[in-house]
Structure formats: structure tokens, C-alpha cells
Amino acid sequence: MNKFTTALSAGVVALMPMAAFAEDSSDPIVIPIHNWSSQIVMSHVVGQIFESMGNNVEFVTTDSQAVYESVRLGDVALELEVWEGAFGASFRAALEKGGLHDAGDHDAVTREDWWYPMWTKDACPGLPSWEALNDCAAVFATAETGDKGRYLDGPVDWLKHGQERVEALGMDFVVVNAGSAAALWAEIGAAEADKKPVVVFNWTPNFAEAVWPGEFVEFPEWVEGCDKDPAVGPNPDALYDCGNPAKGYLKKAAWDGMKDKWPAAYDVLTKISFTNPQIAEMAKFVDVDEMEPEEAAEAWLEQNPEVWQGWTGS
């Protein structure tokens, strides 16, 4: 790794007209990492870019919701994956309190919704339409749900409104909440062996796409206000009668003090933008190829110089 970093720094130094910025502080830039692979690798990719610019970088494991409070207080400097659906609320709450700001969007879009692994289609060929899903609800029945189908929603605190949607659209499904992401994977993993049809909550970009190919269920398209105004959406009397936005944002957030403390690093941060395939590739290195996150980040930087050199080279 050392040889590589040296080479990297040399390249960067050659490319970067140094005079453009005031000197970055030598204090370490603290980057938070969470418990999913793409975010960890992306954090290491960005960390290694910062290191190649001569900055000190440190990583700290934090909760993905609580992190916005830490960014706000400057305990950590930035956050690289702000998902609209999952963390939008925490991000906005912290934004209102002040102390952090929006450092631009990635190219990547995020989507979270009802999802099924491909083998489910054999038992329910009408998919991905939600009406078709509802027609074969019995296929998804379990010992506990009787003849109704079972939909496995994310943990209650993710606030995904699965129950509300089932009621609003009059579906024959029972909503069960998993306790964690790991619990979701365990269910899919258990269903995989004998190709049992399942429908669960899932999102993209995510390692699961590489392990279990699948599709999102197509619900009535998201219309602005679907979660606030009953009149919007197919059911005039209910909220949450549409699918989630199919193209949610993926943002970066930065501590307000970062701009002054590490101006060069901050400038790079605002330019950083990853696409869905790039993020999937990072996750694949770790989840499928069994690399450690640091190594995965190195490998990614090595294979995609044209992507990141544009950000540091301006």
C-alpha cells in the first residue's frame, strides 16, 4: 500500500497547481463509516484521495442516523452517503439546527421499495406490477399469516410505511417488521435454497443486487404530496398510496468548519460524484471478492484513475 500511496501522491502533486488553496490543517479529517460495505469503501476511497493530497485521515464507526449530530458538532468532518429515503429526515433536522451543509449530490440515484428476488417471478409471473403481486398474495403466505401474503418490511424505525400502504391500496398482505438489515438478508438467504417466493424491503445501490438479482415492485408512481395529502394518488382517502420515489438523491454532507480548516479537501469533496455502477463495484469488491475495505478502496482507485483524478486535478 505504501508504494502505491507514494506513487499516487506524486501523481497528484504533479497534477495539482498548489497555489490555488490555503494550506490544509494537519489535524486528521475524521470520516465516519457505517455498517454497509459501499459506504465503508467509498469512505476509504475518499480518505485515500485526501491522504494522497497530504492530509491526515481517520475513520470512526458511527450510527448512520446519529452521525448527522456528529457532523453538526464537528466531531466528524463529512458524510459521504446521505440517502434521501433513509436519512433525509435526520439530515434535514440537523440542517435546521445548523452546523452542517449540503455538499452536493452524487450522480447515483437511490431507490427503496418492495422488492423480490428473481426466482419469485416463477411463482408469480405477473410481476413487477403491484396488482399482480396482490393477486398472488397466497403464494407469499406463511404459517403465521394464514392465507394472506407476508411482506417483510424494514425495521420499524426506518419508517417505511408498509402497513399504511397495504391498507391504502387494500392489499391482502400482512406486514412484518424485521429488526435489522441483517434480518432481511437472512430471510432472503433462507428462501434462496428452495427458491421460495418472498417479497421484502430493499434498496439500491446495495450489495444484495450482486448476490441475489431481483426487481422492485412497481407501485402507482410517486407523486409529490403522496405522504401528506390523501387526495394525491389512486386512493382519494388515504396517504401512502404510491410507491416511493424511484430516483431519490444521494448527497454528501459537510461540517460548516471544513471549508476553512481543510480548504483543498473540501474543494475535492464538493466535486466528488459517484454513479450507481461505481458504487456497486465498490460494494462488490468487499461483498463478493472478500477484500478488506482498505484494499478494495486501493483497487478501485487503481482501476479508475480517470474518475478521481479529475476531481483532484482541477
Binding site: 486528521p28 455498517n35 454497509w36 460495505s37 465503508i40 491526515n56 481517520e58 475513520f59 470512526v60 464507526t61 458511527t62 450510527d63 448512520s64 442516523q65 446519529a66 452521525v67 449530530e69 456528529s70 466531531d75 435526520s90 406463511t142 404459517a143 403465521e144 417483510l152 425495521p155 420499524v156 424505525d157 412484518v176 417488521n177 424485521a178 429488526g179 435489522s180 438489515a181 441483517a182 434480518a183 438478508w185 437472512a186 430471510e187 438467504g189 433462507a190 435454497a193 428452495d194 450489495f207 448476490v211 468487499v286 461483498d287 472478500e290 477484500m291 478488506e292 484494499e295
Partner: protein, 660 residues
């Protein structure tokens, strides 16, 4: 609610016995429940109406905020954080090379393993040496060195901190009876409070990351240290103290050279407990940003890598077993004494050997990079293969048929109806039942506690979730008894099997419970039975352990007397051994319940509708009041059982004349 329970609170009148009073209480509860089923009971009697629930969370929040901001506690703790951070940075630099002062680390893995081997040899001979060195060699070979050292860098700070704080409070409690009286109830609550309740204040006051992890770990590990210190000091015999006084010791000298050495055994048992509790927190503190094995384990589980998370589990078990055995060996080992005139190097041979080997490997690692660190590609991790093995097992037809049956029958026919029944009992009736139980088993005092504690739970506004928590605990403990007790009875027949099963118990107890949550889900889906299954494994350990210990310590004269009276094996077991072992077994039963309360919170990870789930949810925010209320609900329920069962056990012991 409170006045309902008040009016039925038993007193000395009417000449009823405790059992009869308990029966009366059960009767009233049954009437209330029947009324509920016939629809005659007013809704306010079934559940406390929302508007009557006091806003405990809000009040607590106000108090917290006042203490935190207005009294400046936050400023103080943030200052402490700086100091702690500095300490952690030093150990982090030494163990895994974080770029901080003194900038000399990381210590090569070979040097650490060699020193562990020498320490092991010193404490317990070759086998211990093998265990010590072997653990670290395994960690390095499997590719977990850095993360294991991240964990250790926090533990080597947290464990000594817990030791010194515990020792200090222990001495204080022994010197000043009022401190002892004040500290006892606090300790009981601390020991039953779910760990999620420690985590949130730790984050708020000590910053997310290793500092909060170290603080939460320390606090969690302190109580047994205090208890053991006080216990040890109280047992010091007056003769020894006399001798100290006669040789003219000052008070400090008396403490340092007389009391503490005499209480050595108890204090070292406390040390052992501290270490074990610290290790138990490794995975849990990962929720608040503690790096290391726990964080890696959670990340592995998040990407469905069973094999790798299993390997991390093994590392944690090995570390725990190693530290446990070594500290226990230390308890047994008596201080060595040498003849006058033994040369210095001979007295300190082991120390010199350790230092020598350490320096040798540090030097070696300058030339041989493999002695410094092993890279990812050099290690022997079998993650993928283990994955396939686990998945293969779960896919065997017999296994699937069994779990399918359990799910369709036990879950649908027994567990879910049982839960619904418990939820249908009106709150006052439920409280009466608990009081009746405490009265019948414990006594009047316990009944009063039970009434007050459960009324508080009802007032907290989290009644339904509390009942579901209790339902999981009760179901798991009942099933654990059906399996664990026979297992213990059979194992206790021979020395060999007792040892084997006790080793299994040790392993099951230190193996991070998170690892078997995933197989539990794969076996049973996200259902009540998966939750209960995961609690069950944990709750079975003390039941089996104490059954074995209880049976094996039945006095030989008693069993011999039974043999001579011509008792069959069954008669001997039922009439002699079990009754005599019962008080010990009751302690195991009590622990099983405590463990179940601990595990039920973790099971929120699978997906439950109980207090654990709400607690987990509060971790992501800053909702300290709610977090605390939920934690107290769990603690109050656990304490009710704790007080009642322990009272019963000590009564039984007295009856049998077994002493303390």
C-alpha cells in the same frame, strides 16, 4: 391503578397464610380477566388510559438537560473525554499503530503472542502458555489482528478503570455502612438495566467512538468489582488485623498490607468478572461507534457473511476463555517465596524471559515483515467455506422439516396464543398475579416490591411492550428448563461429562449472541420462535451449570445414606439429591431469567414488538428520557424476579441447614 393494588396488599390480619393470600389475589385476577372476556370490564381497568400516563420521559429529559447544560456536566465530561481520548490514543498507537503520540507502534503480533505465552506459562504451565500464545496466533492467522487490537486497545483502558473505580467504591462501602446501604440498590438496578440504556448517555456525554465505548464498558463492569471487594474485606479475620495493629501499621498501611492481601482471592474473582463483562460489551458497544471486532461483526452480518462473522465470534470466545482462565489461575496461584540469597535473575526469570522474547520479536519484525503483520491475502480465513457449511446444514431436509413443524405448531398453536392471552389480561389483574407469585414464593416484602415495581411499569405507558418482553422471557425460560435441567441432571452423574458440559456452557456464554441470531432467523424466519430460540440458548447456560454444580455438591454422606437405605437411582435423585440441590438450582433459575432479560433486548435485532425494539430505536437519536424510562421498565421487571427468587433460595437454604 395504584389504589387497586393497594387495597389488596396483604397484611397480617385475618390469620390467612401467605399461600392463602396468594390464592385470594389469583382469584381476584381471574375474576377481572373473566370480566374482561365477557366485555363487562370498563376499558380503564383493562389498560391505563393514555391521558393518565405521566410524562416521565419529558420530565427526565428536562432533568437531563438541566444537569447536562445548566449545571455544566457536559463541559466536565467533555473535558474527561479529552483525557480518556489521550489514554486511548496511546494504547491505540501501541497496539495497532494509530498515528498519535508516542508514535512507536504497532507492536508486532509475534511479540504480543510470545509475551502472552510467557504469562500463560507463569500462571498455569504449558497448557495455559499454549492457550495464551495460541489465541493471538489464531487472531493473526485468521486476518483479524488489527480489529482485535482495536478492541483490545479499549479494553486495556476500560478494564483497569473499572477495577480501580470498583476497588475504591468497594473499600468505601466497607468502611462506611451508609455508603454500603446507599450503593446496594443502585448496584442491583445497574445490574438489571439493559445495556442499551448505558449506551446513549455514554454517547451524549463522551462523544461517539472509542471514548463512549470505553465509558459504557467501564460502567457495565464496575458493579461486581464493588461487590467482591466489599465481600472480601468483610471476611478478613480479626486475628490478621490484630497482628497488623500490633506491628504498628498506620491506617493506610493496614489497608495496603493487611486487608487487601487478605482479601486477594475475592478481589481477583472481581477482576475476573470485570474482564468477562468487558468482553461481553465488545459487540454491543459497536452500536455507539466502538471500532474493532464488534463493529466488524455487525458489518459482516449486514452483508450476510455468516462464515466471517462466525470466525470473529471464535476470536472473541478465545480471548474471553484465555483471559478468564488466566485470571482464574492468578486467583489460585499463591505468591512465590524464594530462599534468601537467590540471585535477582532467578527470582525474576519469567519477567526477563518475557522481556527478552518481546525484544527479540520486535527486532525480528524489522527484518521479516511477516513477523510484523500479516496481510489479508496471507491469512487463512475460511469465511466462504463456513458460509456454505452453515447454509448446507440449514438446508438439510430433516432440519427443515423440524423447523417447519416447530414454526407451524409451537409458534402458531402455543406461543402466539400464549402471547395474546397475556396481552388480554387486564393490567390490574396482571399486577395482582405478579404480587401473588412474589408473596407465595418470597414473602410480604417481596410482594410489596412486586406491586410497586409493576405498577410503575404500568404507569410508564409501555405496558403492552413490557408484557411482550415478559412473554418472551417466560417462554424462553420455560423451554430452557425443559431442556437444560435434564441435561444438567444427566451430566452431573459423572465427573467427565460434568466437565464437558461446563466447558460448553462457558463457550456458549462468551460466544457473541449476535452470531447465532442469523441462523436463528434462517431456521425460523422472523417470528416469535426465532426470538425465543435465541434467548433460549443463553438462558439454558446458567440452568445447566447450576444444576450440575448443585448436584455435584450434595454431601456424600447424604447420598451414601440413601444408598444404604436401599433407594433406587430415581428415588435417590428425587428424594435426596434434587431437594438438596434445589437452592443452588434456584440461583441458576434466577440467573437464567436475568440472562433472558438481557438477551431479549438483543433479540430486537431479529424483529420484535417489545421494549428492546423501542430501546434500539432510541439509540439513533438523543431521546434520553424515553431511553431511560424503557430501561427502567426492564430493570423493574427483572428486579421483581431477582428479589423474589433469591429470597426463596436463601429461605430454602436456611431450612435445609446448608448455611449461606
Amino acid at each position: 391503578m395504584a389504589d387497586v393494588t393497594d387495597s389488596y396488599r396483604p397484611d397480617r390480619m385475618a390469620g390467612f397464610s401467605r399461600t392463602q393470600w396468594a390464592q385470594v389475589l389469583v382469584g381476584v385476577a381471574v375474576v377481572l380477566t373473566v370480566l374482561q372476556y365477557t366485555g363487562l370490564l370498563p376499558a380503564a381497568f383493562h389498560r391505563l388510559p393514555e391521558e393518565l400516563v405521566p410524562n416521565f420521559a419529558g420530565w427526565l429529559d428536562a432533568i437531563f438537560n438541566f444537569v447536562k447544560d445548566d449545571l455544566g456536566l457536559l463541559a466536565l465530561t467533555r473535558l474527561l473525554t479529552e483525557g480518556l481520548q489521550w489514554l486511548l490514543d496511546v494504547t491505540a498507537n501501541l497496539l495497532f499503530g494509530k498515528r498519535r503520540w508516542p508514535n512507536i507502534g504497532p507492536i508486532p503480533w509475534t511479540a504480543v503472542a510470545a509475551v502472552a505465552g510467557v504469562v500463560g506459562y507463569y500462571l498455569g504451565g504449558w497448557r495455559m502458555a499454549l492457550l495464551g500464545a495460541g489465541t493471538f496466533i489464531w487472531t493473526a492467522l485468521i486476518g483479524q489482528w488489527t480489529i482485535a487490537m482495536e478492541t483490545m486497545s479499549v479494553l486495556v483502558v476500560a478494564a483497569p478503570l473499572a477495577f480501580f473505580i470498583g476497588l475504591g467504591f468497594g473499600i468505601l462501602a466497607w468502611r462506611k455502612p451508609w455508603v454500603n446501604r446507599a450503593i446496594k440498590p443502585v448496584l442491583s438496578v445497574l445490574q438489571t438495566l439493559p445495556f442499551f440504556t448505558y449506551l446513549l448517555p455514554a454517547v451524549i456525554f463522551f462523544k461517539v467512538g472509542p471514548t463512549a465505548g470505553a465509558v459504557a464498558t467501564t460502567i457495565y463492569a464496575i458493579p461486581p468489582m464493588i461487590l467482591m471487594t466489599t465481600l472480601g474485606l468483610q471476611k478478613v479475620s480479626p486475628e490478621v488485623v490484630e497482628a497488623g495493629n500490633m506491628s504498628g501499621c498506620t491506617r493506610w498501611q493496614l489497608l495496603r498490607h493487611v486487608y487487601l492481601p487478605s482479601a486477594r482471592t475475592e478481589i481477583l474473582v472481581g477482576v475476573n468478572q470485570v474482564i468477562m463483562l468487558c468482553l461481553a460489551m465488545v459487540v454491543l458497544t459497536a452500536f455507539i461507534g466502538m471500532p474493532g471486532l464488534g463493529a466488524k461483526l455487525l458489518a459482516m452480518m449486514g452483508s450476510f457473511k455468516l462464515g466471517r462473522s462466525f470466525e470473529i465470534g471464535i476470536t472473541i470466545v478465545l480471548l474471553a476463555v484465555m483471559l478468564d482462565r488466566m485470571s482464574k489461575a492468578w486467583v489460585v496461584k499463591q505468591p512465590e517465596h524464594f530462599e534468601k540469597g537467590t540471585p535477582w535473575w532467578k527470582k525474576h526469570f519469567m519477567l526477563l524471559l518475557g522481556v527478552g522474547l518481546f525484544l527479540f520479536f520486535v527486532l525480528l519484525s524489522q527484518f521479516v515483515p511477516e513477523a510484523q503483520a500479516l496481510g489479508r491475502r496471507q491469512n487463512f480465513s475460511q469465511g466462504k467455506e463456513l458460509d456454505n457449511l452453515i447454509k448446507g446444514f440449514l438446508n438439510i431436509d430433516v432440519v427443515k422439516a423440524t423447523t417447519g413443524f416447530l414454526r407451524a405448531f409451537v409458534n402458531v398453536q402455543i406461543l402466539i396464543p400464549f402471547r395474546n392471552f397475556m396481552l388480554s389480561i387486564p393490567t390490574p389483574a396482571f399486577i395482582l398475579l405478579v404480587i401473588a407469585f412474589a408473596l407465595w414464593l418470597g414473602g410480604k416484602k417481596q410482594a410489596v416490591y412486586a406491586g410497586v415495581f409493576f405498577s410503575l411499569v404500568a404507569l410508564s405507558g409501555w405496558w403492552d411492550r413490557s408484557v411482550i418482553t415478559l412473554y418472551s422471557v417466560i417462554s424462553a425460560v420455560v423451554i430452557a428448563m425443559m431442556i437444560g435441567l435434564p441435561l444438567g441432571i444427566v451430566a452431573a452423574r459423572t465427573e467427565k461429562w460434568s466437565k464437558r458440559i461446563l466447558l460448553v456452557c462457558d463457550t456458549a456464554q462468551t460466544f457473541p449472541s449476535f452470531v447465532y441470531l442469523i441462523p436463528a432467523i434462517m431456521l425460523f424466519g422472523i417470528t416469535d420462535i426465532a426470538v425465543i430460540f435465541s434467548i433460549l440458548i443463553f438462558a439454558m447456560v446458567p440452568l445447566t451449570r447450576y444444576t450440575i454444580e448443585g448436584l455435584r455438591t450434595v454431601p456424600v454422606e447424604m447420598t451414601e445414606a440413601a444408598d444404604m437405605a436401599g433407594a433406587t437411582r430415581m428415588q435417590k435423585l428425587w428424594k435426596v439429591q434434587l431437594p438438596l440441590a434445589l437452592p443452588t438450582m434456584a440461583v441458576g433459575f434466577n440467573q437464567a431469567i436475568m440472562f433472558a432479560f438481557f438477551m431479549v433486548i438483543i433479540a430486537a435485532f431479529i424483529g420484535t414488538q417489545d421494549l428492546g425494539q423501542e430501546l434500539q430505536r432510541t439509540l439513533a437519536g438523543t431521546d434520553m428520557g424515553k431511553n431511560f424510562v424503557l430501561g427502567i421498565c426492564v430493570a423493574l421487571m427483572a428486579l421483581t424476579f431477582d428479589l423474589t427468587i433469591l429470597k426463596w433460595a436463601s429461605d430454602q437454604k436456611k431450612k435445609l441447614g446448608l448455611g449461606d
